[in-house]
């Protein structure tokens, strides 16, 4: 059901969300990070060139409904398992960036019945080392300027002029921030049990990593890969925490190269 030609709307488990659907071919389910997803993002067209792209806006983000009962990433993982059932997806490539990567990993440890490939890009979600190591920068203790410095290869890519935006857009930004905190405030940006469950992932997995990321370290990404049997680690040099924004072309190219090869 088309809402405005760009976004469609879909109800799963009684929760109505927005979704971007574009292109044809094998399904590719793209799970956005905590900063949300712009329907005009170039990466969407790159991904839709070679796949049936399905990019839902998570419950609580954008204009998607926030059920009060959804309080953790687990709730989103089960929601997307149900969404894949509802759309009857088969052999889907599951791609997630940052928080979306965490959701994707949680989905894959529960069931990969509808997934053929998993791509985790600068994903949060695991506790890699000891309890006194801050593995994931505390984004809620950073100014926006500091966040951009850490998150982007080119910090200007994260700059926003709120005064020049329509209020509806600013509200979405505020809503995305609130939803991120709802799901990931504590334990902060990870599930303490996820790492010990990653061995259940049986599909080919790619850790795609924007190397300028200073929210996460490269070694965090390599630890993630090491916990998943056979997972590959591929760098993207000129991108930070959000490679789908800073290097959309290479992001899509690496994903399809991986799907073609594995």
């Amino acid at each position: 059901m088309a809402a405005d030609g760009i976004m469609s709307s879909l109800a799963v488990d009684g929760v109505r969300i927005e979704m971007i659907e574009r292109g044809h071919g094998r399904p590719l389910l793209f799970l956005h990070p905590g900063i949300g997803l712009s329907p005009g993002a170039p990466v969407l067209d790159h991904l839709a060139e070679r796949a049936r792209l399905i990019a839902p806006i998570h419950p609580g983000f954008g204009r998607s409904e926030q059920p009060a009962r959804f309080t953790g990433i687990d709730d989103l993982a089960y929601f997307y398992l149900d969404l894949m059932d509802a759309l009857d997806l088969a052999d889907a490539t599951l791609v997630g960036v940052s928080l979306g990567g965490w959701i994707a990993a949680e989905i894959a440890v529960k069931s990969s019945a509808r997934i053929s490939h998993l791509v985790l890009a600068n994903a949060v979600g695991i506790k890699a080392w000891d309890r006194e190591t801050r593995e994931i920068a505390d984004i809620f203790a950073l100014t926006e300027e500091q966040f951009n410095e850490r998150a982007y290869f080119d910090p200007a890519a994260g700059k926003r002029d709120y005064a020049a935006m329509p209020e509806a857009q600013v509200r979405i930004i505020a809503r995305n921030r609130e939803a991120t905190a709802r799901y990931a405030w504590s334990p902060y940006m990870h599930d303490p049990k996820l790492r010990q469950r990653l061995h259940r992932i049986r599909v080919p997995t790619l850790l795609l990593w924007g190397m300028a990321d200073r929210i996460l370290s490269e070694s965090y990404g390599r630890a993630y890969a090491a916990a998943i049997t056979g997972a590959r680690f591929e760098p993207i040099a000129r991108a930070g925490h959000f490679p789908h924004i800073e290097a959309p072309d290479e992001f899509a190219r690496q994903i399809f190269a991986f799907v073609d090869a594995a």
Binding site: F140, A141, A174, E178, W185
Partner: protein
């Protein structure tokens, strides 16, 4: 009848000399000299004991990881003053119960304090200021759900007397709840909370709890009226003044110039209370999406009004504006009395004045002098001042 509660946040003033841009959350505690802190605690307790003798009631609070308030665990001063004072009501405003992982412990602490004080406890439960969330690590998005579950649990624990009960909620789990001691006051100590929005004021009115407001000055009346509407919507008569409280700063002295000098010191605390690393000022979900969008777009936030409708920012206003906005009661005893009475009449009745008579660098001698003057010359008159709205409740 008005009650006046002496209140200080128990600050550590030396920190203002070297705070590096943040007095809260991340101000390194190596800057806290435990010996200086000990002297300050004893001094503040002495002032509360004097207030008790002078006929004041007592208000206590807690904040965390901050030089603005060394009371990081409010049950400690409550317990000390429950034993060391004899007549004052002991108001905690508030206890941030949504930040506590164990409300059973809260119920036990408060019941114990109520018993030791022979039933003098007033229980104020609050959400907590934005800076509490990075300290407690409680989720600011869902904290009010947790707050209300804790509230429901604490009251049930205080009022269940026959056999242990079980609790399997969203946030808390217990199997055999049966607190010892049970509270002195029956069915439980009075419940207070604070409100800054009309919706919350109305909700507190519906519940009939004592509502405190702070920083609202001559914008208080709409909040009180919303409370009154909520109170009466449950089939009750208009609420008596003792359902409503107001927090203001107080600087009193025998002559006006000295009072103004003290007023500047006390106001300096207010003006500098917002010195905190910016990301900690507004955690996600603490304010609504609409409010946050407004902040991002640079829209000015709601401020306080003076009596004649001028907008005042309590973080930057001058002394006269603070007085005109009833954020600060300041002057000779007569002047302060008139300022307070004028506010009572404007508000339609204020049963409790929460009086911040010590703040920041205000010395022990100045605090004692102000308390004594107020206690002898203002307090007796406020206690007999005929409150608007009180007549209907003489029975």
């Amino acid at each position: 009848m008005m009650r006046v509660y002496h209140f200080t946040e128990q600050p550590y003033p030396a920190a203002w000399n070297d705070h590096g841009g943040s007095l809260r959350v991340n101000l390194p505690n190596r800057k806290c000299d435990p010996s200086t802190a000990a002297d300050l605690y004893h001094r503040f307790y002495d002032e509360w004991m004097l207030a008790d003798e002078l006929g004041f009631d007592i208000m206590l609070n807690e904040h965390h990881q901050t030089a603005t308030c060394m009371s990081s665990t409010v049950v400690v001063p409550l317990a000390i003053l429950a034993r060391q004072t004899s007549r004052a009501r002991l108001l905690v405003l508030g206890y941030p119960i949504g930040h506590r992982s164990d409300p059973l412990r809260v119920a036990e602490e408060l019941a114990t304090i109520d018993v030791i004080s022979h039933g003098r406890l007033e229980m104020g439960f609050i959400k907590g200021v934005p800076y509490e969330f990075p300290c407690s690590n409680q989720n600011p998005v869902t904290v009010m759900d947790k707050f209300w579950e804790a509230h429901d649990f604490i009251l049930k624990a205080m009022t269940s007397h026959e056999e242990p009960f079980s609790w399997e909620g969203e946030f808390f789990h217990y199997r055999q709840v049966n607190i010892w001691p049970r509270p002195w006051q029956q069915p439980h100590p009075p419940v207070w909370s604070a409100a800054g929005s009309l919706a919350n004021a109305r909700m507190l009115g519906e519940r009939g709890y004592v509502m405190a407001v702070l920083g609202s000055g001559y914008k208080t009346r709409p909040l009180y009226d919303a409370y009154r509407e909520g109170y009466m919507s449950k089939g009750r008569p208009p609420p008596p003044p003792d359902r409503l409280a107001y927090l203001g700063l107080l600087a009193v002295a025998a002559d006006e110039a000295e009072a103004r000098r003290r007023g500047e010191i006390v106001a300096g605390y207010l003006r500098s209370g917002g010195i905190v690393w910016p990301p900690f000022r507004n955690p996600p979900g603490y304010l609504s999406v609409e409010e946050n969008a407004g902040i991002l777009m640079g829209r000015p936030r709601e401020r306080t009004l003076t009596r004649d409708g001028r907008v005042v920012d309590m973080r930057s206003a001058g002394i006269q504006d603070l007085i005109d906005a009833a954020l600060l009661f300041c002057g000779t005893p007569d002047q302060v009395y008139r300022q307070i009475v004028e506010f009572i009449d404007y508000a339609g009745g204020v049963g409790h004045l929460l009086s911040m008579g010590q703040a920041g660098f205000l010395s022990h001698a100045d605090t004692v002098d102000g308390l004594t003057l107020f206690g002898k010359e203002v307090l007796p008159r406020l206690k007999t001042y005929p409150q608007p709205g009180a007549a209907a409740h003489k029975s």
